[in-house]
C-alpha cells in the first residue's frame, strides 16, 4: 500500500486516523509501539517507504502530526540527536548501516552523540584534528572532541575525523559511526560556569572503527557533516522538547516521560540561557515609577525585541508554507535570540536590584534569576557564535563579499592551535 495512495491531505488524514484507531493503545510498551510505527511508516512518514516511512511529501507531515496530537498518540523517539543520525544515515549511509541503525533510532533504544567540535576547532569545525588512520580493515582513532551532549550514555557517535593531512582541510575529513562503548573511548563531563555539566569531553586513544562504519566515502566527511548540520539548523534535534505536562493515564506515557526527563536532565538551564522573557512579560503590566528609572524603557525594549523576533519567525514560516522563497527572516533568529538573552539579563538585573547578588534558595525565584544571569552568555556562543552568524547572514543573505582565506592550502601547512 505504501506509495500507492494518492496524497491528498484528506486521504492521508483518513488513513492515519484509521490506522491509529486500529492500533493506538496507551497501555502499550513504548518500544513495541514504536516498532509498530516503524513497520507501518507512520512514525516518520516523510522517510522513504523502504526505510520505515511512507514517502509522504513534507507539506503533508503536519496532517499526520495533527492526528497523533488529536488523540495524544506517542511518536517515535525524538530526544537527543538521534534523528540527526537518522537523517544523515538515510542520505549518506550504506544499506547495511541503515539496516543496523535506523530502526533503533526510531524506537529510542540507542542513544547517539555528535562528535564534531574539538578544543582547537570550535567556530572552524572543518579544522578538526582528531585523526583516523586505516589499519587493515579498521580505523584507529586518536584525538579529542568536546561540547558533546549525551556522550556519557551514548551507544554510538557520529564522528568527524581527519584521514588525509595533505589536502585542503575540507577535503581531508571522513565521517564514521563509532561505537562509544569501547575501551579507547573515555567520556568526561565538562562543567560550565553556571555549575551544570550538560556537555562532555570525549578522548579517543586508539579507539577502533570497523571499515563498514565509514559513512559515504573517505574524504567526503565534510559533505556528510553539512547534512547533519543542516538538519540541526532546521531544528530537527530534539534536545529542547519538553516533557508532557499532565500526561494522560497509560503505561506508554509514563515510559515516554521518563525517557524525556532523562534526556533533558542536562538541559534544564536552556530556558534560562535564552533569558526567560516570560518572567518579564508576567511583571510588565505591574511596573510603576517607583522602580529603577531605566527599567520601564529597558523592559519595553526587551518586549519589543522578543515580540518582533517572534513575528519575524512567523513571517518566515508563513512564506515557507505559501511556497514563497524564504526571505532573510529565517537566518536571523539565532542572532535575535542573542540580543534578547542579553537584554533579558539586563532587565532581570534591574528588576532584582541588590537581590541579583543572591543565588540558590536565597536568590529571587529560588535561584532562577541567578541561573539566568550566569547562563545567558552561552546564547551568543553555543551553536555558532554571533560573529559566525553575522558572517553567514552577510555573505549568504546579503551576498556580501567573502573574506580572503588563509586556510586553503594543504591542511598540514595551515596555522592552527
Amino acid at each position: 500500500m505504501n506509495g500507492s495512495t494518492p496524497n491528498s491531505p484528506e486521504s492521508v488524514r483518513a488513513e492515519v486516523r484509521a490506522w491509529l484507531a486500529a492500533n493506538w493503545d496507551p497501555e502499550a510498551d513504548l518500544v513495541a509501539w514504536r516498532n509498530k510505527l516503524a513497520d507501518a511508516g507512520w512514525g516518520m512518514p516523510v522517510w522513504p517507504s523502504d526505510w520505515y516511512g511512507r514517502d509522504l511529501p513534507q507539506a503533508l507531515a503536519p496532517v499526520v502530526d495533527e492526528e497523533f496530537a488529536r488523540i495524544d498518540a506517542v511518536g517515535v523517539a525524538k530526544t537527543g540527536i538521534r534523528l540527526l543520525a537518522g537523517w544523515t544515515l538515510l542520505e549518506h549511509g550504506s544499506d547495511a548501516q541503515k539496516e543496523s541503525y535506523l530502526r533503533r533510532v526510531l524506537t529510542g533504544e540507542d542513544v547517539w552523540c555528535q562528535l564534531f567540535s574539538e578544543p582547537g576547532s570550535g567556530s572552524d569545525l572543518a579544522g578538526a584534528t582528531t585523526r583516523a588512520d586505516l589499519d587493515g580493515d579498521r580505523w584507529i582513532v586518536n584525538g579529542q572532541k568536546v561540547w558533546t551532549t549525551s556522550a556519557h550514555h551514548a551507544d554510538y557517535g557520529l564522528l568527524l575525523a581527519r584521514t588525509d593531512w595533505d589536502v585542503p582541510k575540507h577535503q581531508g575529513l571522513t565521517y564514521f559511526v563509532i561505537d562509544m562503548r569501547q575501551p579507547g573511548v573515555e567520556v568526561r563531563p565538562l562543567r560550565q560556569m553556571n555549575g551544570h555539566a550538560s556537555f562532555n569531553q570525549v578522548f579517543f586513544t586508539d579507539a577502533l572503527v570497523p571499515s563498514e562504519n565509514l559513512v559515504s566515502k573517505v574524504g567526503n566527511g565534510w559533505q556528510v557533516a553539512l547534512t547533519t548540520l543542516m538538519y540541526e539548523r532546521r531544528g530537527i534535534s530534539g534536545s529542547r522538547a519538553l516533557p508532557r505536562t499532565d500526561p494522560p493515564p497509560g503505561q506508554i506515557y509514563a515510559q515516554e516521560r521518563e525517557e524525556t526527563l532523562t534526556a533533558l536532565e542536562p538541559y534544564k538551564w536552556y530556558p534560562q540561557r535564552a533569558g526567560r522573557v516570560d518572567l518579564v512579560e508576567a511583571r510588565a503590566g505591574n511596573l510603576g515609577d517607583d522602580v529603577d528609572p531605566e527599567l520601564r524603557q529597558e523592559v519595553a525594549k526587551l518586549l519589543i525585541l522578543s515580540r518582533t523576533a517572534e513575528w519575524t519567525a512567523r513571517r518566515a514560516r508563513a512564506a515557507q508554507e505559501q511556497g514563497r522563497p524564504q526571505g532573510p527572516e529565517g537566518s536571523l533568529g539565532k542572532l535575535a535570540g542573542s540580543e534578547i538573552a542579553r537584554q533579558a539579563s539586563r532587565v532581570h538585573t534591574l528588576l532584582a536590584g541588590a537581590d541579583a547578588m543572591l543565588a540558590g534558595a536565597d536568590g529571587p525565584l529560588d535561584g532562577l534569576i541567578a541561573e539566568i544571569l550566569v547562563s545567558v552568555p552561552a546564547t551568543s556562543i553555543a551553536g555558532g557564535t554571533d560573529e559566525i552568524q553575522r558572517n553567514i547572514i552577510a555573505e549568504r543573505v546579503l551576498g556580501m563579499p567573502k573574506e580572503p582565506r588563509m586556510d586553503t592550502g594543504p591542511f598540514r601547512d595551515v596555522k592552527r592551535n
Binding site: V299, I304, T308, Q322, G327, E329, L335, N391
Partner: protein, 373 residues
Amino acid sequence: MQFAFTDEQEQLRSTVRRFLEDKSPPTEVRRLMETESGYDTEVWRQLSDELGLTAVHIPETFGGQGFSFAELAIIAEEMGRSLFCGPYFSSTVLGATAIMETASTAQKEELLPAIAAGERLVALAISEASGRWDADGITCKVRDGKLTGTKRFVVDGHIANLLIVVAREPAGEISFHAVSADSPGVARRRLEVIDPTRKLAQVDFDDAPATRLDADIDGEAALSRILDLAAVALANEMVGGAQWLLESAVEYAGLRTQFGRAIGSFQAIKHKCADLLLKVELAKSAAYYAADAAAANDPELPVLACIAKSAAADAYMRAARDCIQIHGGIGFTWDNDTHLWFKRAKSSEVLFGTPSLYRERMMTQIRDERVYA
C-alpha cells in the same frame, strides 16, 4: 493575524514600486524638494487617476476603493522606500483617515470623494507650540463655529485645501473641525525643516469659520486612534526607507575597494550590515503586524502601534547612520543620496513622538490592559 502578504497585495506592491521607480527617482526627489509646493501635479494626477492610490482605504460608498489599512501601509512603505514627494501621507493617510474616524455619514459623503480622487488635499492639524500630540496638548479653542489658536508641524499644511483641526470645546472636550484653507482668519506659513522632502507648516487660526465633524464619538479616543493609525502608517513608510538604506549600503560595500579588497569583505562592514538587516527585519515585522491589526480593528492596536513606531524609528536612524558611515566621506556629501533618507529618518523619528515616548506609552498601555482586563 496574517504573516504573509496575499498575492493581490504583492501585486499592488509591485505596481506601486514600478510607478515610483519611474516617477520618483532621487533626481526627481532632489528637484521637488527645492520647490515651494514640494510635489509634481502631473505625477499626483497619475497616482490618483490611473493608479487610484489616493482612494485605496476609503470605502466605496464614499468614492474609494474599499481596501484596508494593510494596503495603505504597503503604499506607505513603497513611498518611504523611494522618498516620494507628494501629499499622500498628509492627505490620504492622515487627512482621509481622520475624516473617516470623526465625520458623520453626510460629511463623509461631502468630503471624501474629492479626496479619494486626489482633487482635494487635506491636512491634519494636531500639534501646537508644545510639540505634544496627545489630547492634553490641545489648546486651540473653538466656540460657536469659530476656531482660534496656532497649529504647528502640519504636514503639507501650506498646500492643503482643507484643514482638519483638533480643538477644545468650551466645556473642555476635544473635537475635530473642517476648516477651508482659504477661509478668512486662516494664515499659513511654511516652516523651515530638516527634511525638505516633507514640508511642514504653521497655521494660525483667528476666529476662523470651522465645521465640527459630528460623528457620535469621543474626541479624545478618536484622536488617540487616529494617532495610532498615523504611527502605523509612518512605521511602514519608515521601514521602506530603512530597507533602501540597507540595500544602498550593501551595494556600495560590494563596489568600493580599499586596501585591495571590497570594503564589504571586512568584518567591520559586514557585521554592521548583518546587524542592520536584523534590526530592519524586526522593524518590518512590527510594521506589518500593526498594519494588519489596524485593518482588522484589533483591540491590541494601541500597543502594536507603539511597538511599530519605536522599532521602525530606531531601525531607520540606525540604517541612516550606518549607510553614511559605510559610504565614508562620500556619504556625507550633498551629491550622495544618503542624506535625503537620513533627514527623513531624523524627521520621522520625532513625528508624533520620540521612540522613548512610544515605549513609555506601550508600558502604560500594558499596565492598563492588566488593570482593566
